[in-house]
């Protein structure tokens, strides 16, 4: 691989151990993927900072980089941690706060912007064609497909390494020739018959090449976010070319196959029937956008107070200041708000019999991590189930 004089100095250790180790990771991964050079990145988003998911060895790795003077060389944001940072939630378990604090101190020491969210594009929307090094599969696919940013699904340590050096390897989705939509995917009609996350779960499991999605019209960007996050969970997708949305010049189309998604096959992806009294309604995977928060607020006003089970909404930490009035009203109506975290990367204080969620990604992970039954439903159905008479 060709390295510039500066990059070679980094690799040799002229800038210290942390940068040398970071450069070694990038070069070795890049060489394995056949990259010929490195590329400068404009924004790094680091996933894998929750103690609940990375455990003691992940903590050790991050702490060592920070203790050995690793510093962000480029604007860097971070994913959710495993605790509720505003202390508002009674559902999320904060017992790992001590360990999480060690991680957070290391991240702060490395001068990362501690946004603790899986929607980093809320803080800095990427420009089309801009090179990024993002972890967090749902953010990666959103950056590539919606904004036309250029990023691979960087494993957490690679994103960390990219932050310290300011570079990542130029391979995969950093090259236009690899951003080719090959399978035309037609959406089912009617589109919203089955909860939308099921479409993403189906695509993730059944289509391996980059899909060219047509017919995604008249739905909100949040619903598109849900589809993309779900397909990145059940499959390894990092880009879906979406007709009318993905910026021109950031992809090519060379169709080899055409697939039509049918509503009857999607039924298998919404989860089984449930039983039991302890029910949790969950919205906010990926973190709720301001529009989603408003939608929940509007529905709560319509239905009044919570009458059965519990309801959890997860949001970025900053929303508690930006949308204070809405959050206070949701709290007053019995909704549990957790900030800077989500149940995928944290633990619950209690056991639930089943969870109702609008997110295909949450269904995929919560079933596996918390061993709980999960069913997909639309936002209004969830609110109706918990708030309705």
């Amino acid at each position: 691989m060709y390295l510039t004089v500066e990059q070679e100095k980094m690799l040799r250790g002229d800038y210290g151990w942390a940068i040398a180790k970071a450069m070694e990771i990038i070069v070795r991964v890049g060489e394995a993927l056949g990259a010929e050079e490195l590329v400068k990145v404009e924004h790094v988003h680091v996933s894998g900072i929750s103690y609940s998911t990375i455990g003691k060895y992940g903590l050790e790795f991050i702490r060592e980089l920070a203790l050995r003077a690793g510093k962000a060389n480029v604007f860097t944001t971070v994913n959710p941690g495993c605790i509720d940072y505003s202390g508002l939630s009674r559902i999320i378990d904060n017992s790992l706060a001590g360990y999480q604090k060690l991680i957070d101190e290391s991240l702060e020491k490395m001068r990362f912007k501690l946004v603790y969210t899986c929607i980093p594009y809320f803080y800095r929307p990427p420009l089309p064609g801009e090179h990024l090094a993002w972890g967090e599969s749902s953010a990666v696919i959103f950056a590539n497909s919606i904004y036309g940013g250029f990023t691979n699904r960087e494993g957490s340590p690679v994103a960390l390494a990219a932050s310290l050096t300011g570079y990542t390897y130029k391979a995969g989705l950093h090259l236009l020739e690899n951003r080719i939509g090959r399978v035309e995917v037609k959406m089912p009609a009617p589109l919203l018959k089955v909860p939308i996350g099921a479409i993403g779960l189906w695509i993730g499991e059944n289509i391996k090449a980059i899909p060219y999605i047509r017919g995604l019209c008249n739905i909100s960007l949040d619903e598109v976010k849900n589809i993309l996050a779900s397909m990145a969970a059940s499959g390894n997708h990092a880009l879906a070319v979406i007709e009318g949305i993905t910026p021109r010049g950031t992809f090519k189309i060379e169709l080899e196959e055409q697939v039509e998604v049918e509503n009857n096959v999607l039924e298998d992806y919404i989860g089984g029937e449930y039983s039991g009294d302890s029910i949790l309604g969950y919205i906010g995977c990926p973190h709720s956008s301001p529009r989603e928060l408003l939608e929940i607020w509007r529905l709560m006003r319509k239905y009044g107070r919570i009458r059965r089970g519990k309801m959890l909404v997860t949001i970025p930490v900053e929303f508690t200041k930006l949308y204070r009035g809405i959050i206070l009203e949701l709290k007053a109506r019995g909704v549990d708000i957790a900030t800077g975290t989500c149940p995928v990367v944290s633990k619950f204080r209690e056991k639930f019999d089943y969870i109702l969620t609008n997110s295909g990604k949450a269904l995929f992970y919560l079933e596996r991590i918390h061993r709980v039954k999960v069913k997909l439903a639309r936002v209004e159905e969830i609110v109706k189930e918990l708030f309705g008479l």
Binding site: R28, A32, L33, S47, G55, G135, G155, S234, R368
Partner: protein, 140 residues
């Protein structure tokens, strides 16, 4: 001592070269290391009898969370990592995990053919990688 007979000879592309020989564990599908693998036990969460400590893990590829490299690293630190991994397709996440954990990683050229044979032999399947060559043995 048990006898072994050569059942298949194929080729691999080394992604992270290193020693790779031992008993085979096959998971014919995509794995999300986060959520589908228990980093304390070295087993698949949904298939509890499938554990891969000190064995050769063959699977199609990875899916899911970008936390995967830390899970692979934890497997190594807990001494329950597979000896090496053979896959049909690689992605950056898997490579990063194997770099961090120093686990040899190979792409199998004719993955489907190999998997069919491993399924047919079913048990006591051993495998060895020498350079680009893959040798599959059946122990009697």
């Amino acid at each position: 001592m048990s006898k072994s007979s050569l059942a298949y000879k194929g080729s691999v592309k080394p992604i992270i070269p290193g020693p790779c020989s031992g008993e085979v564990v096959l998971v014919d599908g995509h794995i999300s290391f986060f959520g589908e693998i228990d980093p304390e036990q070295g087993c698949l969460i949904n298939l509890e009898n499938v554990c891969f400590r000190d064995k050769i893990l063959i699977f199609k590829g990875t899916r899911g969370s970008t936390v995967a490299p830390y899970v692979i690293y934890a497997l190594r630190r807990n001494n329950i990592a597979p000896r090496c991994m053979l896959v049909a397709e690689v992605e950056p996440m898997l490579i990063a995990g194997c770099v961090l954990a120093e686990i040899p990683l190979f792409i199998v050229e004719k993955y489907e053919e190999l998997v069919e044979l491993v399924k047919k032999i079913h048990s006591k399947v051993y495998l060895e990688v020498c350079g680009n060559v893959l040798l599959l043995y059946k122990k009697e």
